[in-house]
Amino acid sequence: MSVASTKPVPSPAPRQAGAGDERLATVSIVVRLLQRPELGALIGAVAVYLLFATVDVTPGHKFTSIAGMQNSTDAASTYGIMAVAVALLMIGGEFDLSAGVMTGTSGLLLGMMITKYQLNVWAGILVVLVFAGLIGAINGFLVVRTKLPSFIITLATFFVLRGVNVGVTLFLTNNVRFDISDQAPGFAGAHAIFGSTFLAPYNFQDALLWWIAITVIATWVLTQTTFGNWIYAVGGDANAARAVGVPVARTKIILFMTTAMSAALVGIMVALRYKGIQAGQGVGQEFFYIIAAVVGGCLLTGGYGSAIGASIGALIIGFAQIGIIFANWDSNWYYTFLGVILFLAVGVNTLVRRRAASARR
């Protein structure tokens, strides 16, 4: 950099600079807004909210009441926590299909620790988080080592865990469910933090606070830290990132660990809230996380997206899940509705991004 300081800019330069200015001057506030990955999701969330506010058939329009909001955010919060983690992973260029079943594995492991081994609930939580970190590390390690698509690696993990969940639970309990006694040591404290409610008459779930906190932290990491810069880089172009010294493998493995540990957090919440957990918990939910992340503006190919967008995507899912019940529609249409939303979101996001990018040229 010592080289850089002295020489004046050579003469042909200002002309080129002038040309650059002309082009950039046309970038309006609207285009700037359209370039935000979460904008499409925000518009979608408002549209979905208005739709279900209109078709709501409950007396007193429950959907738009605070109680209705409690219902929607309750449904959305666990999706939201996972969608944020999955979004970071997706921006980093990878998938995790085992994220859903991992919530079940974690909850079951917690149940096993508490009921079978009489562990303090807090110690059990620690064991579960360490275990999840390990599973995530294995996923990540296999992906960066074998260079196979993470889609395949985590699909395998998904099936392995799915079998283990039911097999081990049946073997240990002769049932497909682990019950957790609220008399277990440490249960009261852990329940208050992971499985309880707040705002007394409305009883919002603790998970909502976790969801908001995780969204804020993830957004901060993504936009304001070195690691966030690396996440964008390894997803955008891993080779270019490696060439300038970004630890690509480490970044990806940490992202897989974060996803698995977020799943553990959700599993812990479910197990403590319902004082027990089913062996089939979480199976199939990985797709909701991916839908939320994609609706929130994450590119499937990596390198682009936002945590806030993923959270808004999860909120849309929550609105749909509760809104359909309040509208008295057959709840099976829920899936169809999400499918259509996914179609629309991907279409709108692609269109918006293309237009915003071309406006720059």
């Binding site: 010592s2 020489k7 200002p14 080129q16 060439a243």
Partner: protein
Amino acid sequence: MTDSANGVPLLEVRHVSKYFGSVIALKDISMQVRAGEVTCVLGDNGAGKSSLIKILSGVHPHDEGEFLIEGKPVNFGGPREARAAGISVVFQDLATVPLMSIWRNFFLGSEPTIGFGPASMLDTRFAKRVMREEMHKMGIDVRDPNQTVGTLSGGERQAVAIARAVYFGAKVLILDEPTSALGVRQSGIVLKYVIQARERGLGVIFITHNPHHAYPVGDRFVLLNRGRLMGSYAKNETSLAALTQMMAGGEELERLSRELEKMATDPETAQLAHEMADEVKRPEHPDR
């Protein structure tokens, strides 16, 4: 850069050879790179250009000969050591991440932070300011630092990579085929940045298979063929016609004139085209 003012080259290799098993990748290569000069390494595919880059950038050790930085013999243990010694490579295809903003790309892998431990965060304001200053030195005025690199032209993307390398202390800049994937106009722009890097006192190694791009900006020309040194010339010892002839046997002269016409329609490359046209018209006596 003051060093080479008194005659010591920034970088020099003497009789360097490299073998991969029984394959001779490079044999008896000698070249010098001086501050404020562009050394062009010309050669067709398989001539040994990439082996040479890998030795210079510390990816492979050389097997024979000497490798000197500012007159002192070196033996790099890896790319990191080469970078620490001020040798920076800008690769054509993996220079930048298209979806990331210019300032994020500029500092990727060497992010400036404020705060400590888990609270340390990117010094965004510093990063944006430095990026704009450095790009301005390349003659590019970045209005919006958040603009993604993908919206820049191919030439400007190379400029980001070059500006970054210079900012992080590069003394020798190795440009690996910077124009090979670009059109005529964009190539002209990249050549302009090569000249700018030279004028800022860097030693530039410009690797290419295209003598039409090398000649206008080069001060020295090193020709490789099948791993051996085919010739090494200062600019006044050779000409575009001679270089082209050595590279391709002369039949490309017609193509050259067509390319010149194309370049001349663009005011920014008119200067280059003019220079090239002069060289073609002048009767030449190649050294071999």
